[in-house]
C-alpha cells in the first residue's frame, strides 16, 4: 500500500491512507492537543498553509497527499500548573483548584486540556473567574479523574494547553436574559458564566438549571444555594431525598420557557445527547445559533 506524504509546520510526515491527520501527526511525534476525536474540543485545529482562514480539524480530516498545514494556535500555549486544593463534592465529583505557574489568561466557562503525562490530555471546564477551579466527574479507572481522586497530592505538577471555548459571559449583553442549562459536571462552565455575569453587573434575569439522571449528579446543592442573584433550579430524573431537587426532566423544563427563549442567550453543557437536544429545541424556538453556546462533554478517545 502506498503511503501519503503531507506537511505540518514544514515537517514532512508519512501516513497510511485512511489515517486521520491527527494520528499521522501524533505518530510523527508532533504534540497536538486532542481529546474527543469527534470535532468538538477543537484542540487539534490546524490551519491550511495556502489559506490561513481555513481551519482544519486534524481528527476529522483524512491524511491526503500534498496537504500542507500549520499549527500555531497562539491560544494553545502550554502552561505548567500546580494542584493547590482538592475536595469531594458528593461521592463521585471532585472539585480541584490548580495554580498556573506562569501568567495565564482565561474566561470562566472556557476549558483547558489537562495532562499529567506528555501526549495525553483531558478537557475540563473552568468554573470561576477568580481561580482555576474544575469540577471533575470521577470515572472508574479514568486516566485523569481516578488519578486525581486516588493518587494526586497537593503540590503535584500538571500541565495544560489552552484555554479554548466560547461558553463565556464575554459575548453577552448585560441586559440579555441568560439561560444556563446542563447536567452533571456540565455545571462547572455554567457556574463560571453565572459568576462572571454577577461580577460584571449583569442586570437581566439569570436562570441556572442543573439536571441529573441520578441523585449523585446533583452534587453541588450547597454551592448553588450560596449563589445570589441567580434563579437556580436543580432537577433529577429520579426522586431525590433532598427537597431542593425537583423531580423531572430538564428538556421539559426548558420547553416551558416557550417563546421567551427567543430573546435569551443560552449556554448548554454536559451530557452530549442532552446538549444537542436542547440546542435543537432552543434553535427551533427562535434562538439564533450565535446566541447558543454549548459544550458537549464528550469522553476522551
Amino acid at each position: 500500500m502506498s503511503r501519503v506524504q503531507l506537511e505540518v509546520d514544514g515537517i514532512g510526515i508519512e501516513a497510511d491512507p485512511g489515517d486521520s491527520v491527527l494520528d499521522a501527526c501524533l505518530r510523527a511525534g508532533l504534540a497536538i492537543p486532542h481529546s474527543c476525536r469527534a470535532g468538538a474540543c477543537r484542540g487539534c485545529e490546524l490551519q491550511s498553509v495556502e489559506d490561513a482562514a481555513r481551519a482544519v480539524l486534524a481528527c476529522q480530516t483524512p491524511a491526503t497527499a500534498g496537504l500542507r498545514l500549520r499549527s500555531g494556535q497562539a491560544q494553545l500555549r502550554r502552561t505548567a500548573l500546580r494542584l493547590v486544593r482538592k475536595e469531594w463534592l458528593g461521592d463521585s465529583t471532585l472539585r480541584v483548584v490548580l495554580e498556573p505557574q506562569t501568567r495565564l489568561q482565561w474566561e470562566a466557562g472556557q476549558y483547558l486540556f489537562l495532562s499529567r503525562e506528555p501526549g495525553r490530555s483531558r478537557c475540563y471546564s473552568i468554573a470561576s473567574p477568580e481561580e482555576l477551579e474544575l469540577h471533575i466527574a470521577v470515572q472508574p479507572r479514568g486516566h485523569m479523574s481516578a488519578w486525581l481522586a486516588e493518587d494526586a497530592r497537593i503540590g503535584d505538577a500538571l500541565e495544560m494547553a489552552g484555554p479554548l471555548g466560547h461558553c463565556t459571559h464575554a459575548a453577552a449583553q448585560l441586559d440579555e436574559p441568560l439561560l444556563l442549562a446542563g447536567t452533571g459536571t456540565g455545571l462547572a462552565p455554567l457556574l463560571g458564566v453565572a459568576r462572571s455575569a454577577i461580577r460584571a453587573g449583569h442586570c437581566a434575569p439569570i436562570h441556572l438549571l442543573h439536571g441529573s439522571a441520578r441523585p449523585s449528579g446533583n452534587y453541588a446543592l450547597d454551592l448553588l444555594d450560596s449563589l445570589s442573584g441567580v434563579a437556580v433550579e436543580s432537577w433529577c430524573l429520579e426522586s431525590h431525598p433532598d427537597p431542593r431537587v425537583r423531580h423531572g426532566d430538564l428538556i421539559a423544563r426548558v420547553r416551558q420557557f416557550g417563546s421567551e427563549l427567543a430573546s435569551m442567550r443560552v449556554y448548554l453543557c454536559g451530557a452530549p445527547a442532552l446538549v444537542s437536544q436542547l440546542q435543537r429545541e432552543c434553535f427551533l424556538e427562535g434562538v439564533p445559533l450565535s446566541r447558543i453556546h454549548s459544550d458537549p462533554f464528550l469522553p476522551a478517545r
Binding site: 470535532g39 468538538a40 440546542q279 434553535f283 427551533l284 439564533p288 445559533l289 450565535s290 447558543i292
Partner: protein
C-alpha cells in the same frame, strides 16, 4: 462591464451569516429533508450551510464538482434523490425572498444549485433540466 453577484448585492458575508439561521431552521422543520441534518454538530453544520449559501449566491468559494460528490456521498446511502434537491432549492428560494431578493435573482440561484445536481447525486451528467 462588471455585474455584481447576488452574494455582493445581498451584502456579502454578514448578510449570508444572517441567512444561515433562517435557512437551517427551515431545513430542520421541513420533514422532507430534516433527517439529513440530524445528529451533526449544529455549529459545524451551520458553517457548512454558510458555505452552501455563499456558493449558490455566487460568493467566493473553491468547491469543485468532486467536492460536491464527496461531500454528499454519505447522504446517498440515506436515500438522497432529486426530490430532496428540489426541496432544498425551494427552501432556498423562500429564504432569499424573505431577504428581499427578486424573482430573477432567485431563478439565478436555483440555476446555480441545479448545475451541481448531478454531482450532489453522484451521477453522470445528463441533459440539464
Amino acid at each position: 462591464m462588471t455585474t455584481k453577484s447576488l452574494y455582493e448585492r445581498l451584502g456579502g458575508a454578514p448578510a449570508i451569516q444572517a441567512a444561515v439561521d433562517r435557512f437551517y431552521r427551515r431545513m430542520l422543520k421541513d420533514a422532507r429533508v430534516a433527517r439529513f441534518f440530524e445528529g451533526v454538530d449544529m455549529q459545524r453544520q451551520a458553517e457548512k450551510q454558510r458555505n452552501f449559501l455563499t456558493m449558490v449566491t455566487g460568493g467566493p468559494n473553491h468547491y469543485t464538482g468532486k467536492d460536491m460528490r464527496d461531500g454528499h456521498a454519505h447522504l446517498l446511502k440515506l436515500g438522497l434523490d432529486d426530490s430532496h434537491v428540489d426541496a432544498v432549492i425551494e427552501n432556498l428560494g423562500a429564504v432569499l425572498a424573505e431577504l428581499g431578493a427578486n424573482e430573477a435573482d432567485i431563478a439565478e440561484v436555483a440555476a446555480l444549485a441545479n448545475s451541481v445536481r448531478d454531482d450532489v447525486l453522484s451521477r453522470q451528467s445528463r441533459a440539464r433540466r
